[in-house]
Structures are given as structure tokens and as C-alpha cells.
Symmetry: D2
Subunit: 281 residues, 4 copies
């Protein structure tokens, strides 16, 4: 059920991470090791920050491993921050409007996981979306509903709180319908400056999600690796499954937490879905 | 904004009408003469009754004139009743789930036209759809909303009344929003036995829609035309623009009316959109 | 590197074999057990005999497992003889003209396997094709070259001899170029009446290929299986990997042989590629 | 039969010329005024020079007017030199490998026009291509054959001479087959530094092709047009049909000539197809 990755750091050609890395995301589209499905061939998307107004997106219904255009774009677009996503549908149509990332203004959002019983709850959850955001529903996925719920709950002001309320509402609605283990989610979010990586599931047993450890340590650990020597301190990769098998290179993002990659120092916060009033209140 | 056609009668290969007829629907996709747009290249679809359970559909986002598969299917599928539709989007995504016909059980539905101000009314209209039908929204068109509204209002029992109520609700909602000339619609509907062809617009100036005149007269008018001599009395074509330029072959379906093609004799009824209580009550 | 199947027998809806059978071809597109690749997601095709002139084809670049149209067609097209193919490209473009089956007049051809060193030999092999057949090259696969070579060598008169000469020429050309193990091929061929299933490789270690054993025995072996009780004596399935796991249901087609399914009794012949003069001469 | 454009000058977002200009190329895809066909909806492509190694390409079989990805890329890719092409097929398959530009190393090539009797000559012309270039034939168009012939004749050393010999060979071959008016061609070519725009037809009545006049004059002619005031002296557009209707802005490229846009001063040369030995010898 999908794999995704994000890069934040020095400008790179996207192919460096998508194609030229051992077990990169495109390889994961064909041979996922840790996913619920080994094949993620139901379309893909990339979103990046660079030239022009706001983030750009490229979506395709072709499998990522065989898409000639993706190979071209990845080899010729340089960016300091991008998100990429390969999809394994849990039933909704294979169409570009169901491909991630989803975008709103400067914001990009990707999701790996599933909302259990979504079919039953779809109407109720869509109704909870701000009417002004309703007409812009382009696709039919649970992921887009989560994103628009989060926008409804103030994503642009307080992203973590907004996602917590979006997931909280889904869980609350599921409870009313007697649906168990409603949410399974690893999610990526960016405004072009910061990058959020969420890992959460109702059952407390979430899809894998990893972040690269700090570049300084990596360079010291592997002084003979020219690729790693080029890494700068601000470079960070987040990905569903580790790229390559380098000891010390990857740290699992903990259950029920969110990693924030940002200028001035990354941080990891607990992620606690709730309804309306914050749990801590 | 779209062109469509329907056939009801003796079993034919679909290509007879789609490709081998002068100014057939595929030609109309490239060179429409009477449409709001000359090009209808934003996908297409056909639905037919034949082998297997219920009607079949083939949808594609390619322009109909260049789709190799359509040419193959049309040349090898024989059917006594089919609907075909070429699309010119008024803004919604070019994707298979937005291609006509739409289907529910044994029912197929196509629509040429537009709901003015749909973006503003989308949420309200979707909410009026039976919750049990809501989760099956696959695409994002106004046409699918009209179809699901009609299903909500009893399409399977009384199709004309249901479509009248669906259009009536759209008009009523538009009035509340101060939207003028809300509906522009020529619509086709079938259950595999009967065929309904609706022509209506709020402003009383609807898109063109024609039906072939009775086969008996045609054969007498053109005794030397072998194609027409093969026509049987029950054969009937409905189409946005006349195929060919044969004198006496086509009759315009009147404003605000519905033609019902059916065993035992066709009939034309007035079409009067209304809310809840029938206008005649 | 591709999987394929063929049906010859009583008329069936294609979905019976493609979707409703345990480990059917569509499942093999996602989870091949015996192929060189587990995923066959680089397009697919079906060809069938039925209404209209000659065989029909449907080709798509989408993965077979997710193609809505394939599901529709399979559920609504009934045919006594069809071939289906799911593709895993060995490098050539993912495009409809590279999807199998290939067609010429009443003939359909599918191929699973690869020509080693094809890139080097492509020009030479294409030059050996009858100039009158050259202009009809639509795609860029080795498979299409084999098919056009066989047509050049009299496929329509003596299919086995023609395929033997086509493969023989490829092997001869490879020898000149110092290419080892030139051909790896399981191939299906039909004229709408008979069905040929070839299994061959230069190295004598060919891709798997199975045929269903005779219906009479199957019914006796499994008297309680309603599906098998419906089988008629003339029904035959050929497939890259057995459907289901029924004891006694499948016989491997031997190395270097061809099974001919035909009215009046099937036969298996040796398959001996050669150049010009038949080996037996 | 196709429309194309090229930009050489200051770095711009491609959308400036493709979408934001009056009667830009995307509009020409739907409403060509001067082409042999009004609709150019059989796929499209763009090629550009920028980040990464060599030129990048994006090809699609969708009509350019409706392709969401093209709109995204055009709005977010900045480049000092690009070629764009919208296709109306003269019969060959609608597939990405038949979309322009074609690429070899640093070179990009686009073609609007047709080779008469190509079907008859295809084999002979393909045989004239350098065997080392043969295996890289990806598509089935006459345009790709012209490009590979020109590469065979030294395109990378002397582009004008090479294209003259390629066209010369096509004309010579056509004469042998008794085909009249063999070539109809407006062609664009670039190596990332220079831009060549060819206009030629055997009959001496070629498809239209225009170049923007010099920026200095344009600024003086239209002192109040802010868009034109931003133009720099090195900026040049070549296009099948003028963008907008600005007096003085466009000069037709003469029959049988080639415009070379290059640093240090553009030039226009006669274009004289010939076989082997230059006509001037």
C-alpha cells in the first residue's frame, strides 16, 4: 500500500535518490521489502520546489519503474526539496487525481496506509471538510480526504495539530461505525521550507518509516564513501524503506511521532490524534 | 461539450454506426458541426448490452478518433442496443471515471451539456444523493451527480419522473445561488430494453438532438439505398447531430421533451423538471 | 519475461479463465511463480475470435491487474478461442504496438521469452523479412520480428515449418555474432481453428508451458467439482503456469516440441529450428 | 499535420510561450489556423536544455490542451532554449516513441510535414541509415527516419549539409518509385547552443514557418507593451503560426531556406537537398 520518500537539503537531481540509489523508491515500486504489497505499480507522483510559482507536480498512472518521462524529469530537475510516492491502490481508481502528492498552495502531502471502512465513512468525512474546500476534491481516495480535513483544521497555521485533528476525526467516526483499527498512516508534508514525517496507526503497529541519520556522523562512519562525503549537514532523507544497507545510516521514526526537518535543528514530537480539544488540554 | 449517440434495433457491429456512417460520432469527435465546441477529444466511452451479466462499458481518455482499441471493439462487438459518447470537458479532469456512460445495475446514462455554477453547488447537490449511493461516486463530473440524483429519486421505477426531479433539484439549487440558466442537457438512458432520449435546458434553447425517422418510410423514400433497405422497423438511432445528409431521415427531438424508444411503439412525452411534487399535481 | 495463456473449446466469457480461476493470468501478472520476473506489469493484450471479420485485439500499456476495461471486456465477451498475454519488457518501449498478440489476417501470435543480443541483430533480422511485410512493422520487439520472419517463411501454409525456420534464422544469425543461447521462447499461435503451443530454447532449458489434460479424465478424477463437470472433451487451456493446483489437471509441454490443438485430435510434434532446408531432408 | 515552436534567448518558464501567449502552441493544438489540419491532438512533446546531462524531453500521447502534467512542467521549468511539438498523425501509431522531439546526444529534432509514399519507401530509407544507428529506432514515423538519415550523413559536424542529404535521399528514392512531391517539411534542430529552422518542400509550396523579428525593433514599435519591453536582443521565437497578431513582429522564413539562430548573429541560408555530392560542387 504505497511507498514514499522525501529529500530536504542541498539541491540534487531527483534521479540521484530515485534511480541511482541502491533500493531507491523506483526499485521499491517493483520490489518492496517491508510493504503490505511487494508491487506498487498503480501510478506514482513527485512534487518538488524550484523554479516557478509554488511547488510543481508530476503524476502518472503508469508504474514508476517503466515511465520514460519520470526518468527524464528525474535526470533533469534539480531541487532542494521533493516528495515522491509510488502507489498500490486499495481499491480506488488508478487515475492521476488519485496519485500523490496532493497540493494546496505551497503545501504538498503524501500518505502511505489506509483508512479501514472508508467506503462506509466517505460521505460523513467529506461532509466534515470545509465547504470552501469541497469543490476542489479531484479524486476519490481516503488520502485526499485526510489532507482536506487537515486543511479544514488549520494545516497552514499548525500542521501537527491539524493532522492530529484530521486523524482524530477519522478514528472517532470509525468508532461510531464500530470499525476497528481505523487508521494506518505514514505521511509526509511540506511547505517548501520544513518537512514533516508522521508515523501513526490506531493499533500502534505502523508501517515502517525511516530517516537518514545526521550527515556528520555518516561521513565519519564511512570516510571512504565519496557519495556520503558529499553530504552536507542539512541533508535529510525520509523514506518508507531504507535505501541501501549502510550500517548506521538510518533511524526508524518512532511509533506515534512526527519528525520535523527544518532550518535550525530537526525535532521529533509525539503525535496524538484527538478531536477538537487537544488531548493535552 | 460532448456529442452522443444511441442505437436500438437489430444486432449490429458498433462500427457500422460509429465509423462507417457519414459524419458518424467518431467524425463528430473531430469535426462537430452543431456543438458548442468543434473538438470532442477529452476521452470517450461506449456502453452496450450483449453477452455476460448486465451492460458492458469501455472508457478511454484518448481522443476517440485515434483510439486503436475502440476501432477493434467496434468492429467485433455486435449488439442490439448501445450508447456512445465523446467528451469535451468543461473543466473537470480527463480521466476514465469522468467518461460516460455511467452505469448502475442494468442502467446506462450519458449526458451532453453542463450545469452552470456546478463548482458552487457541487457539495449541496452531492449531499442530496442517497447516502447509500454516495460512496460509489467515482468521478467528479456534474453528469455523474445528475445520474446519482436520478437514482436517488427512483430512476429504476419511473425514469422520466426521476430525471425530472433530478434536474428540478439542480434548477432549484441554482435559483438559491442566483445562478441563471442552470441546466443545459441532452441525455440518453437505457435499461437494455427501452431507450430514453431527453432534450432540455433551463433557458429553453437546448443542444441539438435527433432521432432517425421510421425505417419503413426511409426504405420507401430511398428504394436504391442498400443500407437503408436493410433497416428493420424497430431500428432507431438517436444522435446529437444527424449522420449523413439524407432528406427525410432525421427528426429533431422537440425542446423539453423525451423520446422513449420501446417495444410496442415509441412515444414522445413532455419533460418538465420539478421539485418533489410533480408539476401536474 | 511475460506470461500467456490460450483457450480453445466451448464458448466462454474470457473472465472465467482470466479472473475467476485460481492463479489465473491476471494473478500471474502480479505474482508469477515460475517466470524470470515475478511482475508482468508492462502492458498486456488479448486477442479473440468471434463476431466481425477476423480476430479482434485489445492492447493496453496499463498493468493487467488494474485495467478496468480489461475486466469489462473479459466479463462481456464470449469466445471459443482466445489468447492473452501479460508483458514484462526486457527493455523495449512499453507501448501498445509492443503488446501481444500480433496479428496478420486470421492469425494471432504471442511470445514469452527473449532473443539474446537482439539489439545487435535487429537490422539483419528485419532485413530478412519479406519487403512486402516490412512496412507493417508497428513496434520494436524481438517478438514481432520472429512473427514477421515466420510469415516470410510461409506461416500461413505450414506454421510449424515457418516458425522452425524463423527461429533457425535467429540462431544462425546469433552464431555469426558469437551470441550464445540465442532463443528462449514459449509461443502461441492460432488461425481461429487450430492452436499451436511451442516450447523451445537454444540451451534446451525453456520457460515453462502447460496444457490442460483431457476433460474426460478430469471429470472422472474430480466428480464433485462443478466447474470441471462443465468441461467438454474439446476444451483445452495452454498456459505459462498452471491455473490452480488440481492434481492431474496439467501436463507440461515437453522441451523442443509443439502441441497442436485441433478438431479431430490434438498432437505433439518435435520442434526443430533449422535454416532453409528442413532438418529431416 | 503538426505544429511546432522553438525559443532561444533569456531563460523563461516554458508556459510563457506555450500557454500565456495569444494563439500559443497549445492553442494551435486545438485551433490551428494555417495547418493542413485544425486539430493537432495526437500527442505532443517538449525538449529543453537546462539542469542535468544533455537535453530533457517530455512526451505524451494525450492532446496537449488537456495534459495536466504539461501545464505543471511548463509552469515550473525555466530554460534558455526549448522546442515543442504538437502532433497530428498521418497514420502512424499514437505512441510516445512517435512524439517529437527526437534526440541524439545533445541534439533535438522536430518535424512538421510528411513524406509522401513513406509506406512504400520505409524499408529502403531505413536501410540507408548507418547500421550503428539502426538498433535505436524507437518509433515508426517518417520523421525519425529523416533524423537518423541526417545523423548518418554527419549531422553533428555539418547540420545543414546533413539535412540536405537526408531530404535529398528521400526525394531521390521517391523519384525511383514514381512518387511526386515527396517531401513537405518544416523542421527544427538544436544542439543547445544554436537553433536551425528549415522550411522546404519538393513542390516549392511549404508549410508556414515564422520567426520573431529582432527584439530591438519590437520594443521601439510597441513602447507600451510591457511584455515586449522585457525582450532582449538575443531572444528569438520560431513557430509554425504567429503567436498573437502584433504588426511587425513576425517574418516568414522563405521557401527553401534555413534560419540559423546563433550567438554572434543569425543568418539565413538557402536549403538545397541533394544526393552525396553537394549541388554547389
Amino acid at each position: 500500500m504505497c511507498r514514499w520518500m522525501a529529500w530536504s537539503g542541498q539541491p540534487v537531481l531527483m534521479e540521484e535518490l530515485l534511480f541511482k540509489t541502491q533500493h531507491g523508491l523506483i526499485d521499491q515500486s517493483l520490489h518492496s521489502r517491508m510493504g503490505a504489497e511487494t508491487t506498487n505499480g498503480d501510478g506514482f507522483g513527485v512534487g518538488w520546489y524550484g523554479a516557478g510559482e509554488g511547488p510543481a507536480m508530476y503524476h502518472s498512472v503508469a508504474p514508476a519503474w517503466g515511465d520514460t518521462n519520470l526518468r527524464e524529469l528525474a535526470a533533469h530537475i534539480e531541487t532542494p526539496l521533493f516528495l515522491a510516492h509510488v502507489r498500490a491502490t486499495s481499491g480506488t481508481a488508478v487515475q492521476q487525481t488519485n496519485c500523490h502528492p496532493f497540493r494546496h498552495g505551497r503545501w504538498l502531502f503524501v500518505h502511505n496506509g489506509v483508512v479501514a471502512g472508508f467506503h462506509q465513512m466517505r460521505r460523513e468525512l467529506m461532509l466534515a471538510v470545509d465547504p470552501d474546500l469541497f469543490a476542489d476534491f479531484h479524486g476519490s481516495t481516503d488520502s485526499e480526504v485526510i489532507f482536506r480535513l487537515a486543511l479544514t483544521f488549520g494545516l497552514e497555521e499548525d500542521p501537527v495539530e491539524a493532522i492530529e485533528r484530521a486523524i482524530g476525526l477519522v478514528e472517532e467516526t470509525a468508532r461510531k461505525h464500530g470499525i476497528e483499527n481505523a487508521v494506518q498512516a505514514s505521511m509526509g508534508l511540506s511547505d517548501g521550507v520544513r518537512l514533516w514525517a508522521f508515523r501513526y496507526s490506531t493499533e500502534g503497529h505502523s508501517r515502517t518509516l525511516f530517516a537518514s541519520t545526521d550527515a556528520h556522523s555518516l561521513r565519519q562512519l564511512h570516510p571512504d564513501n565519496p557519495r556520503l562525503q558529499r553530504l552536507r549537514d542539512e541533508d535529510r532523507v525520509v523514506v518508507s524503506e531504507p535505501l541501501g544497507e549502510l550500517p548506521g545510516a538510518w533511524a526508524e521514526i518512532p511509533e506515534a511521532s512526527v519528525l520535523i526537518v527544518q532550518p535550525g535543528g530537526d525535532e521529533t514530537l509525539p503525535f496524538r490524534p484527538h478531536v477538537e480539544v487537544p488531548v493535552s488540554a
